[in-house]
Symmetry: C4
């Protein structure tokens, strides 16, 4: 049986989780606002023209899907990590807050990418996109560090899980940095790496 | 009495539900952003002109109501399905993630439909709208498949409910495909089928 | 002690509440998107000009505050009503869904009101605003009817509360209709009535 | 053991918390909508031009970060305060409602600040920003007053926490007023004070 104080600590963790879930859910849903209705002059608004315009938005769809799954996978890991945490303190709240700041920011580079992927500025747009994820990955590492301190861990926290998580995420910042640098060679190469990364992290989830 | 591990598994399912609920609730509320305030030049901004402009937005209201109820009904079914599930795994998370991606996307074809229903591009706008729901329905089937695997079902899952759900939803993708094809005959026919479909699924709910 | 089935029924009600809370919270927060940053040509962008522009937005602030408190008060009543409900069924879900549709719609007439309160179209804008609340109030009555059916009530539901609620809300639709008609005399009269109404309903809350 | 009525009262408090959390989470996430994709004429859309445009948006990033942490810290205090509260009444709901109104408003002065920090109207934009937080801080004091009434406090409420909270927050309104007045000397001075304030409140959290 738990003591009253354990129950209280767990309720705290629950509220941190619920707030974070809310921010993840809203950020993931706001991504759609990036998509703009094509504006075709009334004279030329035929079905063919609209179909072509909607197809021409493929960079927007691609950016939306990439950002969506990157955030979703991060939410799943966030969730798996907090399952091992029994107690919060102000440092964990602060680390988590930095992560949430970056998560709420993601729809912006997604919009920039979608707007400029067709233009000669594609390289900078892709670098800005990957650069945001460098910061996101750094904040995620900060969050892992904040969560996995001994006095916060729950009794049934798995040492193996903690070790695996540290190992999997250590690679986040350098790999996104690589993607960012790759953008200056070719924007598509950068986005290919970003896509490969969320697929990789999706694959390592064992929930 | 439940074992500790059952309680943990159920908490997991609860968090998946809560996150999904958040995404459904946000997507359903973002639909209103599709509605644009009519811009009447100051010289002509009389009550009569504003009233006419607000009435002229009926395709927007229609699209809003159709999308709202389609998402709401889907949330109710999502909810009824998860009531039979006791445990989650990464495959269910992934199937659910695909469904959520499509749900967050719905406000976009809704805006496109509202913007072009008055124009000669109405057929393409309606086809794009119904085409989105072909994908939504396919993801919903994927979600049902992900949820109704034996080791995830709760002890009091109803075999009859599972069978009925499979039967009811098997029809989703082909019927929305029919609506999509109907759009190329007449946009209104397409929207009529979409409306009939959410009313049909509303009717089959037994919660 | 509750039976298993009671616990399950209560969990259902909890999920309906949580989803509705989400929609109320999002709709109330989206109201701010109605406020547009004043666009002053760079040449004239002095502090005095910006101050004047921000003051000139008072109809927007007024509309925001009115809509905010109207939705907030309605959420509080929604909440007080569901406290007496132990069980949900598909009819209650449907009644609640209609209410949520109207709640998500509120930011739109709020924007229209803010945009046209300074113009000769103010009467129509105010009538559209109050007219939306006629529908909201009708859906709220529908929701009350859906919630207060004997087999859904919890054992400790208060007969006096039910009666008072019915009496207080019966007045909603005709009073908002009055506000709507008053708009055609003077937009300010209409808004005065809308303001008086949320203050009245705030006063009758005994939570 | 709790009595049934205590459990009910606590559930009420839980729902107030959950609703408030929702509003905080949404307001904090909507801040990103303030950031506009730079519009560079297609002819000049090079990577260098886009990079320069994205760097030129630093006032927007600064405003975003300041508002984000101010709201986040306030959420953490809101949370710490409600932990000491066992019961809600309509006065607490009303005080909390006023606070939420101001929280949902924050994205607007943030946008105004970002849009005008580069212009001669910077002083007014900063004063409007700090002025909003004068009102936020006043509502926060109102919320503290509403929450810390003896009959609402839980049995294990800490007298020391209550006293410290009162002392820490009493300073909010005058300090933001000072920031607002400082804006008329220099916009940067005003923003420096606002930044110092959220760092100060972050430091006093002992959760």
């Amino acid at each position: 049986m738990q003591t009253q104080s354990d129950a209280q600590a767990e309720k705290e963790t629950g509220r941190l989780e619920a707030f974070s879930d809310g921010v993840f859910a809203i950020a993931i849903t706001l991504l759609v606002l990036e998509l703009k209705v094509p504006s075709i002059p009334p004279a030329g608004a035929t079905s063919a023209a609209l179909g072509e315009a909607l197809l021409g938005l493929w960079p927007s769809y691609f950016a939306l899907v990439t950002s969506f799954f990157t955030i979703l996978i991060m939410w799943m890991h966030h969730h798996a990590i907090l399952r091992n945490v029994h107690r919060t303190d102000s440092r964990l709240h602060f680390c988590n807050g930095c992560l949430l700041l970056l998560i709420t920011f993601v729809p912006y580079p997604t919009s920039v990418l979608a707007a400029y992927l067709h233009t000669p500025a594609a390289k900078m747009a892709a670098a800005f996109y990957a650069g945001t994820f460098v910061l996101v990955a750094m904040c995620f590492s900060l969050f892992i560090y904040g969560a996995f301190r001994p006095h916060l861990l729950s009794r049934n926290a798995s040492a193996r899980f903690i070790e695996t998580t540290h190992r999997n995420y250590r690679l986040g910042p350098p790999l996104y940095l690589l993607a960012m640098l790759a953008a200056f060679i070719d924007a598509r190469l950068c986005l290919g790496i970003c896509t490969a990364l969320w697929i990789y992290w999706a694959a390592v989830i064992r929930s």
